[in-house]
Symmetry: C2
């Protein structure tokens, strides 16, 4: 949609204007949440057909351009982000010009530079995988001499071929990754039991809320499924994880959402894997599964409004991502899914289908986790492939009902 | 937002385009539901600042103009309505031009002409208040001779001074209403126990679903509160009401939503008071309180998609309308409400505050009806008046917890 030239400031009787830089599905789902709260919501999009640009007031522009960001911000009471790619200098320019920007440049840095993130977390005493900067094969070999192979190489920022993480079994594999010339760090390979995620919201007043801990299920390194709450998690570990999330949000001074991806080790310990400061795939279940969705929560946080209850709205929820297949017609397949499971909730992102691309998700709500997983997986698979046959065996492992 | 000139037809791989004539809060909340379903949603609005025009792709035009309607419909796969004011000739012109229009002109007629509605319902054997056309005071006096005073005069279509229903205690009061020269009908005054409402969705395939029966609470003739499910309703009466709704949708050939407002008489009988064929105030609780909101359901029905589960998502829900007060700043008061009740759901319509105008609603979800009523009424009252003191005593009566 087209950019409206005139915008109102957030004064008495005027609705607040929130601008989100980026127009992917996270911004799209935030747009839906903004409608109910009477918030004017705008996105800075690269193209008019981007996911959120289809449904929100849109300015076309480049998130790397200070000029475009300044123009965008001029009409907004608060600026926030649906990705972490706006460079530090540009975020700081917005702040220096007096715009309200959440999360701040200082906080965002920890999602933009993994070495900064790891160093800061270590300084805070937060358990992480062992890590070191890796400038050469010699560095990697020396590191592996202490931790053993395989090791994990990570791009400090960005990556190549759509990836930023490589598990390397030997020096030759490490050499291949190093040959691309990116700044890298090397981390120990953690033989984790399963992956958990914490979602926290924090407002400028310092108030924080945390959602129930969830389990995320990966296939080929892609999140395919999220189970809320994480099954078979001890109350002790759940509370420790939630406390960790709240403390991290405070210590990194995050305003808005903070998603923390964790490894649960075989001994029940928790290690921080990744951070994000925006709505997160592991929080999509909150749209129907929690009293306050992560998208509403993010808006409330960046506007310094009181945060909403993170309580679950059903005993359990399972979200499954819809990964694009070869058939471009999602809506043709949606009919079948809706007829087969009338209580399933579907979110489509308005994105053209490409193999492996996240084009939507489904959420099943109820009590029995095995049946919720089955319902969500069937629907997601049918939307992806048009087939009743599962594309792959369900992922099994720790925490998952068999 | 501005009208996009190019629109895609609903062919394989293209998202469907639904056009809603009218841009009030019903269209606004439908726009939010369309986002998740990947539906392109457009409204025909009279002004760019109307409630739904703020959040949906908008064409500015006059719903009474066949030209404007035709232009609007040209870009849409389905046309539907957020009010019943599009004249019959214009709806038929759309149909005759080959557009898909739901509900049809033939069905809509029963919401546009109360005499047609009453006649058809009587023909179908549906219990209604006794009625007759009223062309003169003599007609009214003759009718009252059989039913007793007071009687109810209703405008066959429209009304004056924002009203279309008048309770008349004597011939002089009837004469005053008749003096305005509107076509009228006279109905018996039903000393009902309480008001109930049924919400049904029906698709072109003939599939219908019905929501739990709700109780609506009026103050000064305005709906202030809806309780779902209707408390203290016998299973027998609930089933009879739901069957009545489904049968009416079928017999009137309604596609989309049908809301039926009912009187429950002191003997437990049901009489049909009013019909609407669109999302309805008595269904707002479904946004968070039902597995499928009425707005998603309406979209699914008019697109001939399988209908969603109407099951409740919580044991009970209470919705309270926010009626405008004298303070224009809703968002200033929203902070207080959000802090006081973090689990309350708020919907604001983006409409300027005017005394008595519906500018939003709140929904409380849980188990104990008395506490839900208290939470919803407090929040709605605070948003309206900025006062912790209730503006009026809670309505008491049949079905309501004291």
């Amino acid at each position: 949609m087209n950019h409206q030239q005139t915008h109102q400031n957030h004064a008495a009787g005027r609705p607040p204007v929130v601008g989100m830089v980026g127009a992917g599905q996270l911004a799209r789902m935030t747009a839906a949440a903004a409608i109910g709260l009477g918030i004017r919501f705008r996105v800075l999009a690269a193209a008019p057909d981007e996911s959120a640009a289809q449904v929100a007031d849109t300015m076309l522009g480049d998130y790397r351009s200070t000029d475009d960001l300044m123009t965008f911000a001029a009409g907004c009471d608060v600026i926030t982000f649906d990705h972490e790619h706006v460079p530090q200098a540009q975020v700081r320019a917005l702040e220096q010009a007096g715009h309200v920007v959440w999360p701040s440049a200082a906080a965002l840095r920890f999602t933009q530079d993994k070495l900064e993130m790891r160093s800061r977390l270590t300084q805070l005493g937060v358990p992480c995988p062992k890590f070191e900067p890796a400038d050469s094969v010699a560095d990697v070999v020396a590191f592996a001499g202490r931790t053993g192979w395989p090791v994990v190489l990570k791009a400090v920022a960005g990556g190549y071929d759509g990836r930023g993480v490589w598990v390397c079994e030997d020096p030759a594999a490490a050499a291949e990754v190093l040959s691309h010339g990116l700044p890298l760090l090397v981390e120990e390979y953690v033989p984790f039991e399963r992956e958990l995620a914490i979602l926290v919201a924090r407002s400028p007043s310092g108030h924080g809320v945390v959602y129930p801990v969830v389990q995320s299920v990966q296939r080929d390194g892609i999140c395919v499924e999220v189970l809320a709450p994480a099954p078979r998690l001890s109350a002790e570990t759940a509370v420790a994880a939630q406390r960790l999330g709240l403390e991290l949000a405070r210590d990194l001074d995050v305003i808005g959402l903070l998603a923390v991806e964790l490894f649960e080790t075989r001994r029940g310990g928790l290690l921080v894997n990744e951070l994000a400061m925006r709505p997160h795939n592991t929080g999509h279940w909150t749209i129907e599964g929690a009293r306050t969705s992560q998208f509403e929560q993010h808006l409330r946080a960046v506007l310094n409004w009181p945060l909403g209850s993170p309580a679950m709205a059903a005993p359990a929820a399972v979200m499954a991502n819809v990964l694009g297949g070869t058939d471009p017609d999602l809506h043709g397949k949606l009919n079948h899914v809706m007829a087969a499971d009338t209580a399933l909730k579907v979110q489509l992102y308005g994105k053209p289908v490409r193999p492996g691309r996240k084009v939507g998700h489904v959420t099943a709500l109820g009590g029995d986790l095995a049946s919720l997983r089955d319902r969500a997986a069937r629907a997601a698979n049918y939307l992806a492939t048009g087939s009743e046959e599962p594309a792959a065996e369900p992922v099994t492992g720790a925490g998952l009902p068999s």
